[in-house]
């Protein structure tokens, strides 16, 4: 009987230390999320300036650019999946990967060949366990992506998009990431990044409204040449930032729930331990009493 009590005590102790770990991770996530969110806001002016400039060029000149034109020479399609480096974030990575799988299934049904790119160890582990080749992956900074990493990601993907067919060129680029709506809602989303569609934020051109006539230095083609890759880079950066903020929010929530569950477990085990102790005492008393009765007998 004493053994049972000891088992309960041990469980309580281990659950208590787990609870401390969960609590610590919740607090870490909570303290990082503020920074992640302010990074999302800090990157907004750059993205806005770029969008405005791109739409200015797009409305002022009829220049076609390789990045905006559909490629018909290849059926390869790049898919970038943004997940976290670590687990402990509830269904965060799982739902991004599920969304990616849905997309891959759809694209495969259209007869396309998938080239997988991944950020975050979870996606790498998921796909390599299933024996699916990943063309390129980036790990190590999923919750606070740097500009440099985003640039590297964007450069690799842009290179793939502009590469000739026999060097693994791709015709489209899709990005699966988790959009940060607010602290409780993060939605996995799929966007088609390349070829660039109608530029976002282009206000419908009002015929009566006189548009400022831009001069382009050195020329409209060259301005577009330099703008569009930047635009793609900034979009990819903002996707990664959103994914990072979502990861932290998901982790905070998951760890909060885990802490509460640990508390519940501790309560249950404490009750069981008390019950075990009480029944042991009861049994001892009845043993003593019956022993005394036997001795006191006639």
């Amino acid at each position: 009987m004493g053994g049972q009590q000891r088992v309960y005590r041990e469980r309580i102790r281990s659950t208590q230390s787990l609870k401390k770990i969960f609590r610590a991770m919740e607090l870490i996530a909570a303290s990082r999320i503020g920074k992640a969110r302010s990074r999302v806001t800090a990157a907004a002016p750059y993205a806005r300036a770029l969008t405005r400039a791109v739409s200015a060029v797009a409305t002022h000149s009829n220049v076609t650019h390789p990045l905006t034109t559909e490629r018909t020479d290849t059926s390869r399609v790049a898919v970038l999946v943004a997940t976290s480096d670590r687990g402990m974030a509830g269904a965060y990575s799982a739902s991004a990967i599920r969304e990616a799988d849905k997309l891959i299934e759809k694209l495969t049904a259209e007869g396309k060949e998938i080239a997988l790119y991944a950020t975050g160890r979870r996606a790498v582990a998921f796909y390599s366990f299933r024996g699916r080749p990943i063309v390129r992956s980036w790990v190590g900074e999923s919750d606070s992506p740097t500009v440099e990493m985003a640039q590297d990601v964007a450069d690799v993907l842009l290179d793939a998009f502009t590469a000739p067919v026999d060097e693994g060129g791709v015709g489209e680029l899709h990005i699966v990431y988790t959009q940060f709506v607010n602290m409780v809602t993060q939605v996995p989303r799929v966007i088609r990044m390349l070829p660039l569609e109608v530029v976002e934020g282009v206000a419908p051109v009002d015929e009566a409204e006189a548009l400022p006539l831009y001069d382009f230095e050195p020329s409209a083609e060259e301005v577009l040449d330099s703008l569009l890759p930047r635009y793609v880079r900034s979009r990819i950066y903002s996707c990664l930032l959103q994914a990072g903020a979502s990861e932290l929010a998901a982790r905070q929530r998951a760890m909060h729930t885990a802490t509460e569950n640990a508390e519940d477990l501790i309560r249950d085990y404490t009750r069981l331990a008390n019950q075990a102790r009480q029944s042991e005492i009861t049994q001892e008393i009845s043993e003593i009493v019956s022993g005394a009765d036997a001795l006191a007998g006639p």
Partner: protein, 92 residues
């Protein structure tokens, strides 16, 4: 006197914004000076030094890697992947 409304923006944050009397930026084919009343322009910038003369306070100098500059009705936006200030104080 008319003045320019300037934004200096790096990829991950806004570096400086405010009113200025003159902006000099390294355009792809030579330095380019912007004064109030400049015609709208979109210029590609190469790596080099940007100088902003604010309406008040000390002049701002910074090096950028490549980027671009847009001028539209006295609104100047300088965008670069990274900006390193040599002198002057960034606005928060």
């Amino acid at each position: 006197m008319a003045q320019l409304d300037v934004d200096l923006v790096a990829a991950d944050r806004k570096i400086w914004s405010g009113a200025a009397t003159m902006v000099v930026a390294p355009a792809a084919d030579g330095e380019m000076g912007i004064l109030p009343g400049h015609s709208p322009v979109l210029a590609v910038l190469r790596a080099g030094e940007v100088r902003i003369t604010p309406v008040s306070g000390e002049p701002l100098r910074g090096t950028i890697d490549s980027g671009f500059l847009s001028v539209d009705a006295d609104r100047v936006t300088i965008v670069a992947a990274s900006v390193a200030l040599i002198s002057g104080t960034p606005t928060r």
